[in-house]
């Protein structure tokens, strides 16, 4: 019984619940508000924020789980977004690997850079399974909009990702 409560109270269970909320925002409000015709990517932002806050391995796990959930609502093959976001989370975690105590602006720069990379990983992964046609000049516009929106939203999402993934001692 105690073990079950420990699992329910773990940060990974919390992560899945928070990801459901983030995903619901992604498929509703952020799919509807499209600055310059581009959808903001809050699932990607959450993964990047987890990576820059907790490092490579946590970033990769969060990316793989978030990507898997995102895949279930997309029409692309399941697992593709998981791999792309897992790689994105791991890339974001490299910040902690090189700078164990990054400043706030370093985190923001990392969020911007990795968001751009994340938007490149996905069409690359698509083209690897034969769904080509997305690597075109429009990608630059997508990257520009996603980077700007992610920089604006990053402070709030960084707080949420830290709250979600923080270890809590003695949950029972």
């Amino acid at each position: 019984m105690n073990r079950l409560i420990l699992i329910i109270a773990s940060r990974w269970s919390r992560l899945v619940l928070v990801l459901f909320l983030v995903l619901s925002l992604q498929t509703t409000v952020f799919a509807d508000l499209r600055p310059f015709g581009i959808a903001a990517q809050v699932v990607l932002l959450f993964v990047v924020c987890a990576g820059v806050s907790f490092g490579v391995s946590v970033g990769a796990v969060v990316g793989l789980i978030a990507g898997l959930m995102y895949d279930f609502v997309l029409t692309t093959p399941i697992g593709l977004g998981s791999l792309a976001l897992g790689l994105t989370g791991a890339t974001a975690g490299l910040l902690i690997y090189f700078y164990p105590n990054p400043t706030w602006w370093m985190r923001l720069v990392a969020v911007a850079a990795v968001s751009a990379l994340g938007e490149i990983y996905f069409p690359l992964a698509q083209s690897m399974v034969g769904l080509d046609g997305w690597l075109q000049f429009r990608l630059l516009k997508v990257i520009a909009v996603v980077v700007v929106v992610n920089i604006v939203l990053a402070p709030g999402v960084l707080i949420i990702s830290r709250w979600t993934l923080s270890e809590r001692k003695n949950p029972i």
């Binding site: 029409t75 998981s82 075109q136």
Partner: protein, 356 residues
């Protein structure tokens, strides 16, 4: 600490392998993956619905700020277009009615004989790398994967996923979209043959008529000639005798001068580029394809859409060397950036229908 890292590394490997297995299964159209997707959809749908209700004011505020001027301009433009098209619509409706009657008389299938389900768009694709929309009708309404989806203007896409009460529509612009189509190449000019009633055996020489304006030839007929220049319709000449002179004129276009149809495949190229039609035969009979030639669905026992649904018109012809045939860039008649109410044709080709 080392144990935690080892566990985490194991988790990452496990998740990555799971993803690869899922990709492989999904690309093989595994029913397990479809079931998982359906299950996730069932669990996620209530959460999404709550989020949609809660965030609607945010969306409305955003659209109020960002799109107000566009809506005003669009409204003015639409009013002007409605005024222009009111007359043309009546004439077109009469033509369509006649055409449907003729098809019905000859036992040919028409769109009017296919049941439809009206649906409303409830969401766009959350990703920037898929061109899909979500509609509020699903398998309960008889919708199946592959059925064509139209708006008032023409074809916009096809159903790619169905749930009980919603479906996902892949738009024509998605790079994964492909459908067989017909290019209706309008003849360059119309020639008429005037037959005199007095001596039916005598046929007057062929008289070329300018497709835009035609002046009745007083030497041949005393008639009023009207022509149509609507792209995609075979220009026809209606000759009405102004005075009963004993010579009546009827218009018989030569078979070789009727609109020629050639099939190809339309393929999406993403939202920023126009779809293209490829595999057009480079035959002499088909002639030069000109910008403005309409593109309609080809139909057939293997095609997912019935014949003659309007898709768009040729905006550019890219000639290729050899026998490769041209590539046509298509300007869609439907505005895919502004979709609201749609019709799903409950059509399945004979090859897809399951026997009871």
């Amino acid at each position: 600490m080392a144990n935690v890292l080892s566990n985490r590394r194991r988790t990452i490997i496990l998740l990555a392998l799971t993803s690869i297995i899922l990709i492989t299964l999904d690309l093989q159209n595994s029913s397990v993956v479809s079931g998982l997707r359906s299950l996730f959809g069932t669990v996620f749908h209530p959460i999404e619905s709550v989020a949609r209700v809660v965030t609607r004011p945010i969306g409305n505020t955003w659209h109020g700020i960002a799109d107000y001027n566009n809506v005003i301009d669009e409204n003015a433009l639409l009013k002007q277009r409605i005024a222009q098209q009111e007359g043309a619509t009546i004439a077109a409706a009469a033509s369509v009615r006649l055409s449907q009657e003729l098809l019905a008389l000859n036992g040919l299938p028409t769109l009017a004989g296919i049941n439809t389900v009206t649906a409303q768009v409830i969401g766009d694709s959350p990703s920037n790398f898929s061109q899909t929309i979500e509609i509020n009708q699903g398998s309960k309404s008889g919708i199946r994967v592959g059925m064509p989806v139209l708006n008032a203007a023409g074809l916009i896409g096809k159903i790619t996923k169905t749930f009980a009460d919603r479906s996902v529509v892949m738009l024509i612009t998605d790079p994964d979209f492909a459908l067989s189509v017909k290019v209706v190449n309008s003849p360059q000019k119309v020639t008429t043959t005037t037959i005199a009633r007095v001596n039916p055996a005598t046929t007057s020489p062929v008289i070329p008529v300018d497709p835009i304006t035609s002046v009745p030839d007083a030497a041949t007929t005393t008639s009023t000639t009207t022509t149509t220049t609507i792209a995609g319709f075979t220009p026809s000449v209606t000759t009405l005798p102004s005075t009963p002179t004993g010579v009546s004129s009827i218009t018989i276009p030569f078979a070789s001068e009727l609109a020629v149809r050639e099939t190809g495949v339309i393929e999406g190229r993403g939202p920023s580029r126009q779809p293209t039609v490829r595999f057009i035969d480079n035959s002499l009979r088909f002639g030069e394809i000109e910008a403005g030639a309409p593109i309609v669905t080809a139909g057939g026992s293997r095609s997912l859409a019935p014949p003659d649904i309007l898709i768009g018109k040729v905006s550019r012809v890219i000639e290729r060397l050899g026998s490769a045939g041209p590539v046509l860039e298509i300007e869609l008649v439907a505005d895919l950036s502004n979709l609201s109410f749609l019709r799903v044709l409950l059509y399945q080709p004979i090859t897809e229908k399951t026997t009871p």
